[in-house]
Symmetry: C2
């Protein structure tokens, strides 16, 4: 209540508007945080010496303007005004509609739907049958809370040269669950955490739900801006840093070895932890890019490593794993157990056999061959056709390009809306920021769902629409 | 900090002990809550006018006594003293060892392991292959966030006579996830919630993690004690009530129709929500017990219904669903999405085909036939052999009996320890309470993993050990 003492009423403006504006200001300045409960009508009217009706009207105004929301039977809560949230809904709705369209015509550069999957279905059938034949009922029983022991063992052998302590590995139902489990396990309300800017919105949602304070640090070509990073560390007790070390989503950048080393040093100095989200590192197209995740360099037990198999194995089979620092082993195991007991046993066994039998490596090779062709072709078109209107950082791997318009007359949300009229889908930059003030001049295109034919078609339409919009906006 | 002003030091006792005792008292009285951060060393020493060392020693004392815990780089936090937590670990460890034993010898009355599964594996193989044949790659892609549309439709048709709004159904990865999602979706820090006493510990963990205030209401033969329930409602703003309406875990009781109706009335009057955890209602052995869950009676959109398939379908295939009141539809969908995006697509499709093809009903019939025999036999033994030493409420269904010793000379944790020496496993009552002060005279036995032969063998050993212990304790 102490904030409200500073409110001095003026005569010329209705009191309820003054109350609403006063609270809006506190929210904009983050003195009142997202999800904070506003005082009850009664207590605030008493505190300010006004009628109940004044407060009711003020709260209604806040609600109608998106600065507050009502919880049935619980009161009114503050909401950080997010102009882009209505656009987020529009974006989701548009993506949902894709599946109702003629998929041979649609060009989906969002990478967020999965009309096509480069996976030999017969292999999976064979593997599942083999697992059921081999393990019988065991394939259908619950695993222990860390996961299927043979899968843990195989992951350690194939991906880590048996260097991990297998007790530190936890099988999770996809990377999103990994982030949720890590968040529940190590973060408390009001903990400070640093994220990349821009970053993956699914992680932001988890952190916001946990009611932590977010600090954002801009991404550069080789990782976050270290000066800004360290300034935050100096002024705030930071609990953890969430990072995508390879093909950062959405920017596509990968961290340089120097930055990774320095961040690990800083973690030790300032005593924070690193949540490393490794979602795509299998797809490296240029030899100049070495694969050395934070976790490999982690001599001080600072890194919670989360690996997703969804993009690479099968999107509908939610599987991934997490490597916990020994310190957090138990709390993360409990966090997993409380979240969903265990991950589907049959799927764990299928993945294990898939990796152990060598099919995993074969398929990665096949995926690399396929995607490198798309990557090269898209880069070729960007360099040939878009060099006057767009800049980008070469990701050297992964599935996305993050493009920035040279002419910032166009808002990429507008571009999105124009493009869907012609059945081409992109992801506007605003989707990756907490505030729509950012990302207006950038957008992400993915070749996950587009073969060469679709890349050609989609990029042609993209250029036409971009030039149209530029012309239109110039005339205004 | 305001609490600490009341601490007045006396001369005769070391100050650090006085500080520790003062805080212990605050924790015991719940003025400081589980997980609350204790003041920093510096601020408390300043506040109390003592040396830093005094506070460090006080905190160390609290930690060594289980009243506080350290978070690396974050400070010291209060912990509700739970004497039983070391026993919980002992219990888990013992259960883990079961799998290393000769399973033909072990009698596992805990119902928490799954050595045996009454499920035709060949059926599942057939179904999975049929799904892969029929749907091809689609079976491996992500579903929309609510789940596989046909499964939602089939659930509505087969289990709800198509009366539900299908947009209110969300497929989840088992009931535990349902509880986690509901908790994240509708509960805030410091919300008040009511739980049954005793209750399912997996739910308690989720709620504690969400940092809510728990109120416990004792279970009677036909549901919770309504007087105590309403007294809590009168004095506190309650957000929700978590209940298992059929074969409550561990007590095995089911709610009478009257109590369900009254609780729904109270929900409307006092404006709270009901989380109904329906984990076993398919197993009803006595016709006198009608199946009418809260959700059927829910005319005011008060019930979040969570259905588990784990015990009935397959424990290793984490599947269940949640029916959300329309009001919470969106927040619960988002909560699911942030938790793990979606539930395994292939398994959703397999379950759908399993239900739609009629195999579900066949298998339920088979399970009922099998379990009713075990239930009847166990009841027969209890009535014949244990009537002088044990009381119980007839569950009329489900998989468990909850037994109470007439002679409370024996602590059932002690009984547990003696029984595992003879390879018989039970679940002591203390496992279902937040404090080990309760449940010492009761324990749960399940026939989920015991056929008639094992029931006979196990109950014989149980009786011997019980009589031995009674004799031993009487001599003391």
């Amino acid at each position: 209540m102490e904030f409200y003492k500073n409110l001095k009423f003026k005569d010329e403006v209705p009191k309820y508007i003054q109350v609403a504006n006063f609270i809006k200001n506190l929210i904009d300045k983050r003195k009142i945080k997202e999800g904070d409960k506003l005082p009850t009508i009664r207590s605030l009217s008493k505190e300010l010496g006004v009628n109940n009706v004044t407060i009711v009207s003020a709260y209604n105004k806040l609600k109608s303007e998106g600065y507050a929301y009502q919880k049935v039977g619980s009161g009114t809560y503050a909401k950080i005004k997010d102009v882009s949230s209505s656009f987020r809904k529009e974006y989701s709705r548009a993506l949902k509609k894709i599946s109702t369209k003629d998929l041979t015509e649609v060009v989906d550069f969002t990478g967020e739907t999965t009309g096509e999957v480069l996976f030999p279905i017969d292999d999976l059938k064979y593997i599942i049958n083999e697992v059921l034949e081999r393990d019988g009922a065991n394939a259908l029983l619950s695993e222990n809370r860390n996961g299927y022991t043979n899968l843990i063992n195989t992951i350690n052998k194939v991906f880590w040269n048996s260097k991990l302590n297998e007790e530190d590995i936890i099988i999770v139902s996809g990377a999103q669950q990994g982030i949720d489990i890590a968040s529940k396990g190590i973060l408390n309300i009001n903990d400070n955490i640093i994220v990349e800017k821009p970053t993956y919105v699914g992680a932001l949602s988890v952190f916001k739900w946990r009611k932590v304070n977010l600090f954002e640090v801009p991404i550069e070509e080789d990782g976050i801006n270290l000066d800004k990073f360290e300034k935050i560390l100096q002024k705030n007790k930071i609990r953890c840093f969430y990072t995508m070390s390879y093909f950062q989503n959405p920017t596509g950048i990968s961290y340089s070895l120097e930055k990774k080393k320095r961040i690990l040093q800083l973690a030790q100095i300032y005593d924070f932890y690193i949540i490393e989200d490794d979602y795509l590192s299998e797809l490296i197209y240029e030899q100049s890019l070495d694969y050395i995740p934070f976790k490999w360099l982690d001599t001080n037990n600072r890194v919670i490593y989360i690996k997703s198999f969804s993009k690479i194995f099968l999107p509908g089979i939610r599987l991934g794993y997490l490597v916990a620092p020994t310190l957090f082993r138990e709390v993360l195991q409990n966090s997993k157990h409380n979240t969903d007991i265990t991950t589907s046993s049959l799927m764990q066994r299928a993945l294990e056999l898939y990796i152990a039998s060598g099919r995993w490596k074969e398929n990665i090779k096949y995926l690399n061959d396929e995607y490198i062709e798309r990557y090269t072709y898209m880069k070729f078109i960007l360099d040939e056709e878009f060099k006057d209107i767009i800049t980008y950082i070469d990701p050297k791997g992964g599935l996305n390009f993050y493009l920035t318009l040279k002419d910032n007359m166009i808002d990429t949300k507008e571009l999105f809306i124009e493009l869907i009229k012609r059945d081409v889908y992109i992801t506007p930059g605003a989707m990756f920021f907490t505030s729509q003030m950012y990302g207006q001049d950038s957008f992400r295109i993915s070749f996950y769902q587009t073969d060469k034919y679709k890349i050609e078609k989609g990029m042609k339409i993209l250029k036409e629409v971009l030039l149209d919009l530029t012309e239109k906006n110039n005339k205004k």
